[in-house]
């Protein structure tokens, strides 16, 4: 039996000198830690390149957190993927690049974004080659995990200010053909089958405990815990950390991502996002960056009609264009003073919110004055906000926050309602975006920019394409996991530590 998983406890990851390893229990070229999308992709490419690969996974099966996702992968460029073109969307590499640079925020990694923008088109083919099935169908509007087996969806803020001003918008979320919210499971199932078919030595219920370093501070192996004891695995080409993020490690969240304390629900995870990959990387001097950034979203749509509502804080004031992606909206909510937030709707646009969003009706009235009073807001605060909004919306304008005209209508059809999107009550799913600083090749860097020989990272153990919560678009994480997981696998396979 492996030790019981305890994501809250941060087990020691201090590195072990190779000189202190009594014997190697196994030897290979590349050790991959973690069997989610990044680890599977890394293992496939390393094995394809002829490397002998051992993949260790703490859980009893493959999939990790990736398998719980909708399976959406953010792709485009080169004129458009097959799915984009089939639905009349032309997507240039430059538009795709510019959107992802904006989405990456103030420290977007230009080299990484460029490689992805140019390579995503071919990556789509690679995914199909691994057996992942895709239709070429498109669902219009703003669906979230539709579960219909259709492929193309709008999954970010492409059509919203300020993104639409710099990059020609286009839907870029690509879902596998899977019924129900099982796209991630489908994706991971196909990748896992490929890993096994390639003869990768997969070891489940095996926890990565510490990196092994040689006298020149190169990573040359991994100490794992399995079957009740520690074992040492020699890795002639190094170790690729693909162990996910730290959404379950409350200790790390407290120190790195204070926004988490404003949210009531647990982080999204397959059960093992304890930050172990990041901690292993830090133990040998790897720099963890953008650790304060979370993906967090408020699923206030669907129903899509609610995008025509307006979001206000407890001062009765707006703070964001409501047609931005729910993830961007949630960040602007969390950066306001106060915990109470409301989505204002009128009779024309109201529909029952998704039950899983935990958005309840906070107040109803035949006038906005009544709603304001029932919410206990300061006299005139909410009323004047609605009045200003309605006046401009009637002209198809939103001079304050630049919401697109297609979502503008005066909220003037009573009865009116305020839906509670409170931070401590509504469902704000989250996972972590910060991680080890890496080159696109997966090579882990110190804060000085030095490569740590023999150490690679991919997926949410690394800080990759998605590194800014306000810019996250659905599908960016799995896109990053699979694309740069592959690159790390290839680089490690080609690089014996002696040459690193």
């Amino acid at each position: 039996m492996s030790e019981a998983p305890s994501p809250q406890r941060s087990a020691s990851t201090r590195p072990r000198p190779a000189s202190g390893i009594p014997r190697w229990d196994a030897e290979c070229d590349v050790v991959v830690v973690g069997f989610g999308a990044a680890g599977a992709s890394a293992a496939i490419e390393a094995a394809n390149a002829g490397a002998k690969v051992i993949l260790v996974e703490v859980a009893s099966g493959s999939g990790g957190t990736s398998a719980m996702a909708g399976g959406d992968i953010y792709m485009g460029g080169n004129g458009g993927t097959e799915a984009q073109r089939a639905n009349g969307f032309h997507d240039t590499t430059e538009d795709f690049f510019r959107y992802m640079m904006m989405a990456g925020g103030p420290d977007a990694d230009e080299e990484r974004v460029r490689l992805y923008a140019e390579g995503a088109h071919a990556h789509f083919q690679w995914l199909k080659d691994q057996g992942v099935p895709y239709r070429n169908t498109y669902i219009p509007g703003k669906p979230v995990m539709p579960g219909t087996g259709d492929c193309l969806i709008l999954s970010g803020s492409e059509y919203a200010w300020p993104f639409k001003e710099s990059a020609r918008p286009c839907p870029r979320g690509h879902l596998p053909e899977a019924i129900g919210e099982t796209g991630g499971f489908m994706l991971l199932d196909k990748l896992a089958k490929r890993v096994h078919a390639l003869g990768v030595d997969v070891r489940f219920q095996t926890r990565a405990r510490a990196l092994v370093v040689d006298e020149a501070n190169r990573v040359c192996g991994l100490v794992v815990y399995a079957d009740g004891e520690e074992k040492a695995i020699r890795a002639r080409h190094g170790v690729i950390l693909c162990a996910g993020g730290f959404a379950l490690n409350e200790d790390m969240l407290r120190q790195y991502a204070p926004i988490r304390q404003r949210l009531a629900n647990d982080g999204l995870s397959g059960g093992y996002d304890d930050g172990s990959g990041i901690r292993l990387g830090m133990s040998v001097g790897g720099a963890a960056i953008h650790m304060d950034e979370l993906f967090v979203t408020l699923p206030f749509y669907p129903p899509e009609s609610h995008v025509k509502g307006i979001l206000v804080n407890d001062k009765g004031a707006r703070f964001i264009n409501e047609d931005a992606y729910g993830g961007r909206v949630a960040h602007f909510i969390a950066s306001q003073i106060g915990d109470r937030f409301f989505l204002l709707v009128d009779d024309a646009i109201f529909q029952q919110p998704s039950p899983y969003a935990k958005i309840e009706i906070a107040a109803v009235g035949s006038t906005w004055e009544e709603v304001e009073r029932e919410l206990g807001l300061s006299e005139g605060s909410l009323v004047s906000t609605v009045e200003v909004y309605n006046r401009h919306a009637a002209k198809g304008e939103d001079p304050l926050f630049h919401k697109d005209a297609s979502w503008l209508k005066p909220l003037d059809e009573p009865p009116f309602a305020a839906l509670a999107c409170h931070l401590k009550q509504a469902y704000y799913p989250f996972f972590t975006l910060g991680g080890l600083r890496v080159r696109p090749s997966g090579e882990v860097l110190t804060i000085d920019g030095d490569v740590i020989p023999g150490l690679y990272a991919a997926g949410r153990t690394a800080c990759g394409l998605p590194r800014w919560g306000k810019g996250y678009s659905s599908g960016m994480s799995l896109g990053d996991c699979t694309f740069f997981g592959r690159m790390a696998g290839r680089k490690a396979a080609a690089t014996p530590i002696a040459d690193a």
Copy 2:
């Protein structure tokens, strides 16, 4: 000659194995890196405890960034310091503790805050014992670096919402007796004299380059660069990193503190805040935490009367109680969408802003409508904000943001003006608050919470009392530097590496 300082470049800090050190050029018990307030305090206490101390400093003289400060130290508790009592202020340890816990933000370090709250009173005496002169005089109001030689000032958000609701307010900033803005220089001059008097081996123009680790991963020395070559110093008790923050390292700021990109001016520094101390700590697995947090302030007061004005964003909306400390205000400014911000004043409260604040008049009008139009804001947006504010202010209330009644008055005496507090134009001084995770003893911790034997940090190389920009109060950093610098010095002096 030592190498030219190049704060922008992050020189490699990868650790050196002791087995690779050909010979020790010097040996001692404790090496202290950096001769600012933290390093001086550490060296004094280590030497007082009988340790042989070498202090290395990259600059040609002592003082560091601390010497550039106003010299304010945040102290209180135990019924009040001599200066507080002399001016009629009673300050309980619990009020002091609670304020500092709030000021430390969502991850305040309770153990550290408790020690400081209980010990600051005696620390004041220690500072006097080192020769730092203090008067017992008090300057009322909200002065910032008065430069009069008076002692006690209000230096935070003590009397502002929400702080005043949880901790009985009291002024706690203590300035040395120094004329002009030379309090920090005075403080550092006295501490430096003490360091020299105690026989500490001080080496200027000496850059810390890499830590030396023994076979058990303990820090047992330091490689420095001086006189054109590398030298190795053996430290039988370890190394204390007191090398300041990373306010000048744009590479680190980009990766850790994106708020910096919204500010036009350079970081506050004595010239060497290149993050070298933090980077050295990370090189051996030390965890750097809260690296996204900066102290940043907008000096919109003095003139104190401007606290009676209201701050609005480019939507014409308020977002903060304007009687909060300028540092808290600046963070709420930087978290808004848009770069344009205005302080609205009427004829009764307008005075010329401090020239160094770079706050200019953006618009003037005989009505608020005129001002709104001249600023190009959306019709009614600013006018309705002022109208709501004035209506409540006339009753001595601010139901939206809870500004204290003493600062409330309707802005109704024309002419009216909007002063430009734009992020890219006004002066927003900043320095970094993130740093190595440490125990109060200065022992550096990994992200797993393991102590790295032989490694200590204090001052802005560590993440200490001040770790939340929205809560920073003037004097917290120097208080942390001196108090916990002393603790690190004592702990290192008492702990040979073999016992660590």
